[in-house]
């Protein structure tokens, strides 16, 4: 029976739309996963050297052990965002004559087979045998490594429980935010050093097997916690909560002036707020507004005259992030109800124009929200004005036209992290012109004349694009109209 379940699971992976529809994307993702894990391993191999040379600490072991707790806290946070819950699979097994406990054991076990489980192992194994082994003996190396990995894997089960219970609620976010504050705050302000509290546990594991046994107990306990929670709640209604109607009357009033297109822009706004995937994109856009702090405040990027060329990229990112991210899946967002627009008079045209309106609207908001960066210098504001104009004048058309290349359907109720539904080759290739275009205009002028002339050129081209908007937007409309049958038939397919 278990073998059969595993076989089904493999089939599902191979035949899932994200993989089967685009082999190139699958290869790219596999490559990406291997690459990232390779980085982790490389970091692990050089961990000893980095601590000793990079941070100039003499006792690499003591430094790492007192730092471990932060690693786990950090792991807790990335697991919260990345780790997938196995409940979606539950639905298709629940009605079969298989024991519920067995299904849940299987699903939990299945969730453990993931690159995330390898991270701690890859990162700390080299260290255990380069540093811990030679200094404290090979028993210590194994025992220490086992404690570290068991702690990391306990988090896996804890997260399954935590995320299922609190996801999408303010409580979960509050805990995450609290943990973030705790990690950075406590050590920074010197209230207490969390690391020194946890270090003795790992020190003990060097000489005794008791911590390993205890942590194994914790590991099993966490597994049991997750198992029990899933077992008790293995009903469709419990695991898939019905959403309450929220933000009912939130609309952009200004869109009402644009007729049918404005009406559809408002609809799109509701769509964004009411689906999990698009909500995450929106949150990310808000988050990326802070992106500038990394660059503008960093003395490393300070130049004696003018500003760093990199800032143009940062500026175009900040003022256009939502457009870039949301726009790359342009029509896929409407894949579930594309027929609705097709069947209305002028519906497709209004749909495309409505999206234009929405993108311009969000860009304006992002731009306005980024104005406080003027604190870091007037040139930042100029950069933002230039890149904003360029985004709404030129980039917007590039994103939309590229996204219209073979759009794919997707399910909006799944999370956005590591969800490649609707993503095709176009979405990856899109990055190149997005990053290249501003520089193609800016750099020649900046290098020959002056950086500010470069910005002016960027702004002028953007403004010209805005003037040509009625013409340029028609290209996308025409493209959608011409391909409407292909698009709608691909959207009608089951995911």
């Amino acid at each position: 029976m278990v073998v059969e379940l595993i076989r089904l699971e493999l089939l599902k992976t191979i035949r899932s739309t994200a993989f089967a529809k685009s082999a190139l994307v699958a290869v790219f993702l596999a490559f990406l996963a291997v690459l990232l894990l390779g980085y982790v391993l490389a970091l692990g191999l050089f961990l000893k050297v980095i601590i000793e040379k990079g941070f100039e600490k003499e006792d690499a072991y003591a430094t790492l052990s007192s730092f471990l707790v932060f690693f786990f806290l950090f792991e807790f946070i990335y697991r919260y965002f990345v780790q997938k819950l196995p409940v979606i699979e539950l639905e298709r097994f629940l009605h079969l004559p298989i024991k519920k406990s067995r299904i849940i054991h299987f699903l939990l076990g299945r969730s453990f087979v993931s690159p995330l489980s390898l991270i701690a192992l890859l990162l700390f194994t080299p260290f255990a045998f380069q540093e811990v082994g030679p200094r404290f003996g090979s028993f210590a190396a194994f025992s220490w490594l086992a404690s570290v990995c068991l702690s990391s894997w306990s988090l896996h089960w804890l997260m399954l429980w935590f995320k299922q219970k609190f996801e999408d609620s303010w409580k979960g976010l509050a805990v995450i935010f609290g943990i973030l504050l705790l990690t950075s705050g406590s050590t920074y302000f010197g209230w207490f050093n969390l690391g020194d509290w946890v270090k003795p546990l790992f020190d003990w594991s060097l000489v005794s097997a008791i911590p390993v046994i205890c942590l194994f107990g914790v590991f099993l306990g966490m597994y049991y916690l997750a198992y029990k929670f899933y077992y008790q709640n293995a009903y469709l209604e419990d695991l898939m909560e019905e959403e309450q109607v929220r933000f009912v009357n939130q609309e952009f009033g200004i869109f009402n002036r644009f007729g049918l297109a404005g009406e559809l822009a408002n609809l799109e706004w509701k769509l964004i707020i009411r689906h999990k995937k698009s909500r995450t994109y929106l949150m990310l856009a808000g988050f990326f507004l802070l992106y500038g702090l990394i660059f503008y405040a960093n003395p490393q990027y300070k130049t004696e005259q003018g500003f760093n060329h990199l800032f143009v990229f940062v500026g175009s990112f900040i003022t256009g992030i939502f457009m870039l991210q949301y726009g790359q899946l342009f029509l896929s967002w409407n894949s579930a109800n594309f027929d609705f627009y097709m069947q209305k008079e002028g519906g497709l045209e209004a749909l495309v124009k409505g999206k234009y309106l929405l993108f311009i609207g969000t860009s304006v908001i992002c731009f306005l929200a980024s104005v406080p960066y003027v604190f870091f210098g007037w040139e930042i504001l100029l950069i933002h004005i230039a890149t904003f104009l360029f985004n709404v004048g030129v980039i917007i058309h590039m994103v939309i036209n590229l996204a219209l290349w073979k759009p794919k359907p997707m399910d909006l109720n799944k999370g956005a992290m590591f969800n490649y539904e609707g993503v095709g080759v176009a979405q990856f290739l899109m990055i190149i012109p997005m990053m290249g275009a501003p520089y193609a205009i800016y750099l020649p002028f900046a290098l020959i004349f002056d950086q500010y002339v470069g910005l002016l050129a960027l702004g002028v081209v953007g403004a010209a694009g805005l003037v040509a908007y009625p013409y340029l937007s028609k290209i996308a409309v025409r493209k959608v109209m011409a391909n409407q049958y292909e698009i709608s038939s691909s959207f009608r397919q089951e995911l």
């Binding site: 019905e242 009406e263 769509l271 109800n337 594309f338 027929d339 209305k344 008079e345 038939s489």
Partner: protein, 231 residues
């Protein structure tokens, strides 16, 4: 009103639809029956210009549906949930349609009043997204939306499916009422032979994409269909 000529739809080598000629006059209630995969939904989709025919075309009052768009406000349709905006509540959805069809608030109210009996207090004023409604209620929303804006033609795919028996009767009443009041042309596909023979003046039987029977006389409909389906 609707005229189909030499219509053909082919996926690679498989011919899924092959209708030589079909004329549907104004005010007719046109029933479409056939086994699964006979091409009923495909025919509707081509009539609505959602799918491109391989050959031939559909004319609505002499205009090719794939060439123009202004016929769209005169034709209402509900084929499946792709034609709904499932992330809205029913109230929001009707309100959106009202704006798209440029109706007054009063028009919408009058329209929905006709559906009060069918809705059975389950649709309006509820804080529930359409995607969370039961299948039957979802169908009711779709049907009410298809008939909004005084369309001259209404296409419904399996309208009786998933409805409870009393709702089925109410829907039949509604369709007959609309037909006699405003001369609406109905195109209805259904597996429920009793309902479809009761309300339709004419029934076309599709088999593997071909029209094999065109029944216009009420007396013989039930008999012929029963013998065809073996019921």
């Amino acid at each position: 009103m609707i005229s189909v000529q030499g219509l053909k739809k082919q996926y690679k080598n498989a011919v899924v639809l092959d209708v030589e000629e079909l004329q549907i006059p104004k005010g007719e209630c046109f029933g479409l029956v056939g086994n699964n995969g006979a091409g009923k939904t495909t025919l509707f989709r081509i009539m609505l210009n959602l799918v491109r025919p391989t050959g031939g075309g559909v004319l609505l009052d002499g205009m090719d549906v794939s060439k123009t768009e202004n016929w769209k406000s005169r034709v209402g349709a509900f084929l499946d949930e792709h034609m709904l905006l499932s992330y809205l509540t029913p109230d929001e959805y009707f309100e959106t349609l009202r704006k798209i069809y440029k109706l007054s608030v009063e028009d919408l109210k009058l329209h929905l009043e006709k559906f009060q009996e069918l809705f059975n207090d389950e649709i309006q004023g509820k804080k529930k997204y359409i995607r969370d409604l039961s299948k039957g209620n979802l169908k009711k929303v779709g049907i009410a939306a298809a008939m909004l804006g005084n369309p001259e033609v209404v296409m419904l795919d399996e309208p009786f499916e998933n409805l409870d028996p009393s709702s089925q009767v109410r829907l039949k009443k509604l369709i007959l009422q609309e037909k006699s009041d405003r001369q609406v042309t109905f195109l209805i596909s259904s597996h429920d032979l009793n309902h479809v023979t009761e309300i339709c003046d004419r029934i076309v039987l599709l088999e593997k994409g071909k029209v094999i029977k065109d029944l216009q006389e009420k007396e013989h409909m039930v008999e012929t269909l029963n013998s065809y389906f073996g019921t």
